[in-house]
């Protein structure tokens, strides 16, 4: 007989608790100093308990990354909903949200894009989440093309151009090198706007 709340027995939902604790520890320090044992200790279980829920450390990291992609999808969706029928504004808003999310959880972003995890179908859930996020971007551009405000051309190529611009800025921002490279203080909002504006320039019809 199933409980109404679908919990396993021993520890509520240890799978979820581990993911949650690991995410927090990940952002507390950097990614290479995240240890499974610290996660287990934080949750209050033995240091091998996580192995009942994750094949190995990489598998846990993949779980965290997948959550990151999911959150990214949510943000993209909200960006679209914020400006119905205005793909340009949608794109600008999406860019801001992309950057903001990355700044909120830089370590997770590095995990998602740092080449740490395999990108093939080793982790189907991870791959699916990543695909969905990119689909969100493509949808915006597709609508812009349909409206006639974005230029025609290969959809994926255009989407990739836009993504590259925002992605590059984002990683430079969370990489932390900019304050030491730029001669003026970094104004995230200004930079993001400037770059998305630039991208929109190259995306305009005619």
């Amino acid at each position: 007989m199933k409980q109404s709340t679908a919990k396993p027995y021993h520890h509520g939902d240890l799978h979820q608790e581990i993911l949650c604790a690991a995410s927090e520890l990940l952002e507390d320090n950097n990614i290479s100093s995240l240890s499974l044992r610290a996660v287990a200790k934080k949750v209050g279980v033995s240091h091998t308990a996580p192995y009942r829920h994750f094949k190995d450390k990489e598998s846990l990291l993949a779980g965290i990354a997948a959550l990151g992609y999911d959150e990214l999808s949510v943000q993209l969706t909200q960006a679209v909903e914020s400006y119905p029928d205005d793909p340009s504004k949608q794109l600008q808003e999406a860019g801001h949200r992309y950057v903001q999310l990355a700044l909120k959880c830089p370590q997770c972003t590095q995990l998602m894009f740092g080449g740490i995890l395999p990108c093939d179908d080793t982790y189907p859930e991870l791959k699916a989440s990543g695909d969905m996020a990119f689909d969100g971007l493509k949808t915006i551009i597709e609508e812009g093309q349909a409206c006639g405000i974005f230029k025609k051309g290969d959809l994926e190529l255009l989407a990739l151009s836009v993504w590259s611009g925002i992605h590059g800025l984002t990683l430079l921002l969370i990489g932390g090198s900019l304050p030491d490279i730029l001669s003026v203080p970094v104004d995230t909002r200004l930079l993001t706007t400037a770059i998305t504006t630039n991208l929109l320039e190259g995306l305009k019809a005619n």
Copy 2:
């Protein structure tokens, strides 16, 4: 009395040999599985010998990253020299070389930009090398502005826009996620050209 070739005594130049061996091992596997002990074994010294030349593992990684930035500067310089007096072509060539270099040594690129190393002046040599690379880019844009083919505006902001676009594409390429996300095979040259063209579009005067 000094030898004509300025070598220390025991092992030729162990400092250099370690850097070299570490770079190779870094690209052989990924960054998190690079161990100091493996480097030492490869060079043929005891596993604590590297500590005479590098304060700790991070310090060795910083040395490798600095070499990466230096190579990047070389590539930028060559891009400029390939097309004298044509900043547009210079920029396009620089983009290609940026991508090519990253594809040749993806792990080193992740090391340089993955937020693994501190960006402050913990490693002055690293910071200096990074600054020099960015200066190379700024110089191209500055010339383009002087020629009147690039639009006026804050130099660093424009440089950052261009850098972001190329940088984003580069990291997506070496991250390896693109083949699983795009529905067509990845043609690096084509993608790079498309994106630099797009960037140049947004950079044009008028």
